[in-house]
């Protein structure tokens, strides 16, 4: 193990019940990803290694470590850290990777290092993982799983595929170290933009009795399922705009991350009743007070972006793909 990364203790925790390592892994000469590695409580020598990603893009894997399934957690609305009786490291060695560069405590040295896409993120993650094995070679023989939630539905399969590609190079003797990848796990993850998340959202709202049938019928009759799709636009944008706004007005105020759960005051992600789209919109708009009705695709945003924040266009391709 890389002893300089050993965690000797955590504030407010009496004594760590497993070995923890926290440090940095190079994803490139200028990108350094922060990781926390927590060994298994049962059989660290033989239990699988499981790499974990939170989503976003832009969210830290320490969310999972300290809130979801790490050995010590802080629950919604609580102001103390406590032992988790059901951590994922019960019978697994869990590697929490903050990715891509710029997320959480992960860092980059160049401005351009903060721009990412699915492929670049997965290449960086593979480089970081290979470096992790350099420092922890004793785990090379353990089974390896990649896992993640939310936008981790993209990160996780991409990294699994990158590891698979890497292992193919071992076969042709282009690289030496084969990783013992067995599979991957995704929880509530994005996968297929044409059918999951936004395109299925009105059906979900109807299935949870949050919108009337007439609203769903209007949405479907006007082919609004392609509402967020720049490549296959809906037949009637005006009707789709109005219907989408009506749908959003009806669920607004509920907890988007759990429709049956209360919104927690001051509770991190849960305090946001606003949708992901609102969040992205607020990023684009910055501090200005101008607000947009929900449901603009990139191409619809483009003229406004060009006028107010032209530097954004330099960062984006003009083609929707």
């Amino acid at each position: 193990a890389r002893m300089q990364d050993l965690v000797l203790g955590l504030p407010d925790i009496d004594r760590l019940n497993a070995d923890w390592y926290s440090g940095y892994l190079d994803a490139s000469p200028t990108k350094h990803l922060h990781y926390v590695f927590v060994t298994s409580l049962t059989d660290p020598i033989n239990d699988p290694v499981v790499l974990w990603f939170n989503g976003g893009p832009g969210c830290s894997s320490l969310l999972a470590l300290f809130q979801e399934h790490g050995p010590y957690v802080i629950d919604d609305g609580e102001y103390y850290i406590k032992t988790n009786p059901e951590p994922w490291n019960k019978r697994a060695n869990v590697l929490y990777l903050e990715s891509p560069a710029g997320v959480g405590f992960s860092i980059a040295e160049l401005i351009s290092d903060y721009q990412h896409n699915d492929m670049s993120q997965s290449k960086d993650a593979l480089a970081a993982l290979l470096n992790w094995y350099k420092y922890f070679p004793e785990y090379l023989r353990n089974d390896l799983y990649i896992s993640g939630e939310s936008y981790g539905g993209i990160y996780t399969p991409y990294l699994a595929w990158q590891v698979h590609q890497h292992n193919q190079l071992v076969k042709v003797k282009k690289v030496k170290t084969k990783l013992n990848l067995k599979g991957f796990i995704v929880g509530n993850g994005a996968t297929e933009w044409d059918v999951d998340i936004s395109p299925s959202f009105p059906d979900v709202m109807y299935n949870f009795n949050l919108i009337p049938k007439s609203m769903l019928d209007t949405y479907k009759a006007n082919d609004c399922v392609n509402y967020f799709n720049d490549l296959k636009p809906p037949t009637n944008s005006t009707v789709c705009n109005d219907t989408w706004n009506d749908i959003n007005d009806l669920w607004d105020g509920l907890n988007w991350y759990d429709l049956f759960r209360q919104v927690v005051p001051g509770g991190g992600l849960l305090k946001q009743s606003a949708s992901e789209e609102d969040r992205i919109r607020s990023v684009l708009i910055g501090n200005e007070t101008k607000t947009y009705k929900a449901g603009y695709t990139f191409l619809e945003y483009a003229p406004w972006i060009k006028k107010h924040i032209p530097q954004r266009l330099l960062e984006q391709s003009s083609h929707p793909l």
């Binding site: 407010d12 832009g58 991409y158 699994a160 991957f184 509530n188 999951d196 429709l259 049956f260 001051g266």
Partner: protein, 142 residues
């Protein structure tokens, strides 16, 4: 009454404990600037499932079934698009108290499990159930 996780992660003693150098930026749950500069790729990750199945990798997708952000319904739609043969039909799964924890269906190469009654952060909100699902699955236990 701020978010305590951010307070905790940004404490000087916690940063020291985690070996975070002083020059590193404060910790944020989610960095909007990274999000705003991220280019989503239209193809998503659907295509990778087909490749990984071909090479015999195991895949598990679980879904908290009251999530509005990435709803179970949307996930079931792309899984049905795979058109993969069903090995074990849709059936409830249980944790130790005989309560239904969710439902599970096994396709060739992919297991899909719902976590009943919780949303996006299912591993947090049903810790015992999801940890059991996760642990059993990686160890090939029933």
């Amino acid at each position: 009454l701020g978010d305590y996780l951010s307070d905790y992660a940004n404490r000087a003693d916690v940063r020291r404990a985690l070996n975070i150098p002083d020059h590193v930026q404060p910790w944020l749950e989610c960095n909007d600037s990274i999000n705003g500069n991220y280019s989503y790729q239209y193809e998503g990750s659907f295509w990778i499932y087909k490749i990984m199945k071909q090479y015999g990798y195991k895949m598990l997708f679980y879904s908290g079934d009251t999530d509005g952000a990435v709803p179970t319904y949307g996930t079931r739609r792309w899984i049905s698009m795979l058109n993969w043969p069903v090995k074990k039909q849709w059936t409830p799964w249980y944790t130790d108290d005989n309560q239904v924890s969710g439902y599970i269906i096994s396709y060739e190469g992919l297991d899909f499990a719902t976590i009943h009654g919780v949303g996006h952060m299912a591993p947090q909100w049903k810790r015992r159930d999801v940890t059991k699902l996760f642990t059993n699955w990686i160890h090939n236990d029933p």
